[in-house]
């Protein structure tokens, strides 16, 4: 782990019509850490991801990835650099089987340059590579699950598929938009080791979450957003003890037992 932040976000602002969605949001993320972003509904978390990954043009501010300015780049270029994201509203390619969903990211120049999966070998048979990736992510290899149409998969698998789509790109950073939401307790229980394993593989994770208890199990540093502004940043215990943070959450009926 180096000391230079791998991702630097400085004074990002975005307004939609009359609504200020983000105002001067700044934070740094270090390589290999799991950085959490929390806050009540409507605080601009998804807009933040969209701005960082280029899906929305920010009004002002700067985002640097390993020293390179990615503030105004197109989304596919940012993904090609290794900054990937999942979508909160999951939209797999419904008409395709699960494993074929991964063909598309594997088609990208980045994946093709990276070569075979798990080191060594060319990206020969893409279908096999897809199955391999799915196996990494928790789809049982010998079952028929990877071959089912994406439209028939339950939520837990779809969330993993979202992550698999990022993994196919051999990412350096994954911005996860609420991967824990919509899952049952046991599904979450099996997701947490997956997240930890991703971190051990050297991937930096930025996780937007509502399920604070689960998030605090994996993340040691979080930032709180409220109405588009950064409220607080630090280790979970300190942040949740902050009076302003408590007011922000209680005031918007998002009371989740935490820590």
């Amino acid at each position: 782990m180096s000391f230079e932040p791998v991702l630097q976000v400085k004074d990002v602002s975005k307004a939609f019509g009359g609504v200020q969605a983000l105002k001067d949001v700044s934070f740094d993320v270090h390589e290999g850490e799991i950085f959490g972003i929390i806050g009540p509904n409507g605080s601009g978390k998804t807009t933040l991801i969209n701005c960082i990954t280029g899906f929305i043009k920010m009004d002002s501010g700067k985002v640097t990835f390993r020293g390179r300015d990615i503030s105004r780049q197109a989304p596919h270029k940012i993904a090609a650099m290794g900054v990937t994201r999942t979508f909160q509203i999951m939209r797999p390619y419904y008409t395709l089987p699960a494993y074929k969903n991964l063909i598309i990211p594997l088609f990208s120049p980045r994946a093709r340059k990276a070569g075979g999966w798990r080191g060594g070998g060319k990206l020969g048979d893409r279908d096999t590579v897809c199955i391999d990736i799915l196996e990494e992510i928790g789809f049982e290899r010998d079952s028929f699950v990877p071959y089912k149409l994406a439209s028939t998969l339950p939520t837990g698998y779809l969330k993993r598929l979202e992550l698999a789509r990022c993994l196919a790109l051999r990412p350096e950073i994954i911005l996860c938009d609420e991967v824990f939401s919509g899952l049952s307790m046991s599904e979450i229980a099996s997701m947490v080791p997956l997240i930890e394993r991703l971190q051990m593989d050297g991937i930096t994770l930025i996780m937007i979450e509502h399920r604070l208890r689960e998030l605090f199990r994996v993340s040691k540093r979080v930032m709180v957003l409220n109405f588009g502004e950064k409220l607080s940043e630090g280790i979970p215990e300190e942040v949740m003890a902050d009076e302003e943070v408590k007011r922000a959450y209680l005031g918007s009926e998002e009371v989740e037992e935490s820590v």
């Binding site: 596919h76 993904a79 939209r91 008409t95 063909i103 088609f107 990208s108 789509r165």
Partner: protein
């Protein structure tokens, strides 16, 4: 409220089941028996043999010419179906491709003396490139803009040529060489159609075809997968416009002439109507639609532009009542059967 798959009559309802043989041949299971292979191959064989036999079976020269015209329209309709149902771009101006290909071939032939065997490939590639370039500005935008611009290009091009009196003006370019042999003309075209059909069908199931379908279904996800939407849309537009330019170049040699009427409305409307009637998304459906519509159109030629009224209204009817199209219905019937089940 009526549900298409479920109709309650007293205490029974209709259900649809896949035929056993379809279930076993689906997905990645190996095809292990002659019966299964036959099930998959039969429709395709019938199609190919049927198409290839046509010129031998049809008696008069006039109707053989009609078959050629059907093929021309089929190429356009294939392009339309491909773009609309596999990439998500609706092209309302097939005439633009025909005109571009036709004019390029005519110029190459009359001004540069190139024979059809050269003009057609060159017109295909060059025409495809030009059309893609001209359509490039609308690709990053919402689909509506692509539709608007493709609608307008043929209309505008026709007016421009007329007004500036270039490229032969209203008379067009005459004296374009024809094919050495009637059979070459016929079978060349039929083979091109068959190759294009099966080629496209293969393409949409290849990896790059999946990318195209991804662009249609969920372009945000494709962007997030580090792929440039504009690039892949351009490729798709190039493929479809090349097919159209190929058709146009061929047509110039069939008629030995290239003119403004190549930008005519027929070429824009019939592919759309054929796709809607024949069944969109199947790639075969539009060809079937052409086989139905074009002969009717020829029969109606005596009535002048009334035939355009005719297919416009049919098009509206199909769109408004949202029928699925013949091939979609046929494929469904081939793969599924319905039966009444006691509730």
């Amino acid at each position: 409220m009526q549900n298409a798959g479920l109709r309650m009559i007293e205490d029974r309802r209709k259900e649809r089941l896949d035929r056993g043989i379809k279930v076993t041949t689906e997905g990645i299971y190996a095809i292990s028996s002659w019966q299964e292979m036959g099930y998959l191959l039969l429709p395709r064989l019938v199609l190919i043999c049927g198409i290839l036999a046509l010129p031998l079976v049809i008696p008069s020269l006039y109707w053989q010419r009609v078959i050629s015209i059907v093929c021309i329209y089929s190429l356009l309709a294939l392009g339309f179906d491909f773009l609309a149902h596999f990439v998500g771009l609706v092209s309302l101006g097939g005439a633009f491709f025909i005109g571009t290909g036709g004019y390029i071939a005519a110029i190459l032939n009359t001004s540069f003396g190139l024979p059809p065997i050269l003009t057609i490939p060159i017109a295909t590639i060059a025409g495809g490139a030009i059309c893609t370039l001209l359509l490039y500005p609308c690709l990053p935008l919402r689909g509506v803009y692509f539709a608007i611009v493709t609608l307008m290009y043929p209309l505008v091009m026709a007016r421009i040529i007329e007004a500036l009196d270039v490229l032969g003006g209203t008379d067009g370019i005459i004296g374009v060489a024809s094919f050495p042999n009637r059979w070459i003309e016929q079978y060349g075209l039929l083979l091109i159609v068959i190759v294009s059909l099966f080629g496209l069908r293969r393409l949409v199931n290849e990896d790059i075809g999946l990318v195209f379908r991804g662009v249609k279904d969920n372009d945000q996800a494709v962007k997030a997968s580090a792929l440039s939407i504009n690039f892949y849309k351009s490729i798709a537009v190039f493929i479809a416009s090349s097919l159209g330019c190929l058709a146009g170049a061929y047509l110039a040699h069939i008629y030995m002439w290239s003119g403004i009427s190549q930008f005519a409305l027929d070429f824009s409307i019939i592919p759309i109507a054929a796709t809607v009637i024949g069944g969109g998304g199947t790639l075969v459906g539009p060809i079937l639609g052409c086989f139905i519509l074009v002969p009717i159109s020829e029969l109606l030629r005596a009535f002048g532009t009334l035939r355009i009224v005719f297919y416009s209204l049919i098009l509206v009817a199909f769109i408004v009542f949202r029928s699925e199209g013949i091939m979609v219905y046929a494929e469904r019937k081939y793969h599924q059967f319905e039966r009444w089940v006691k509730v």
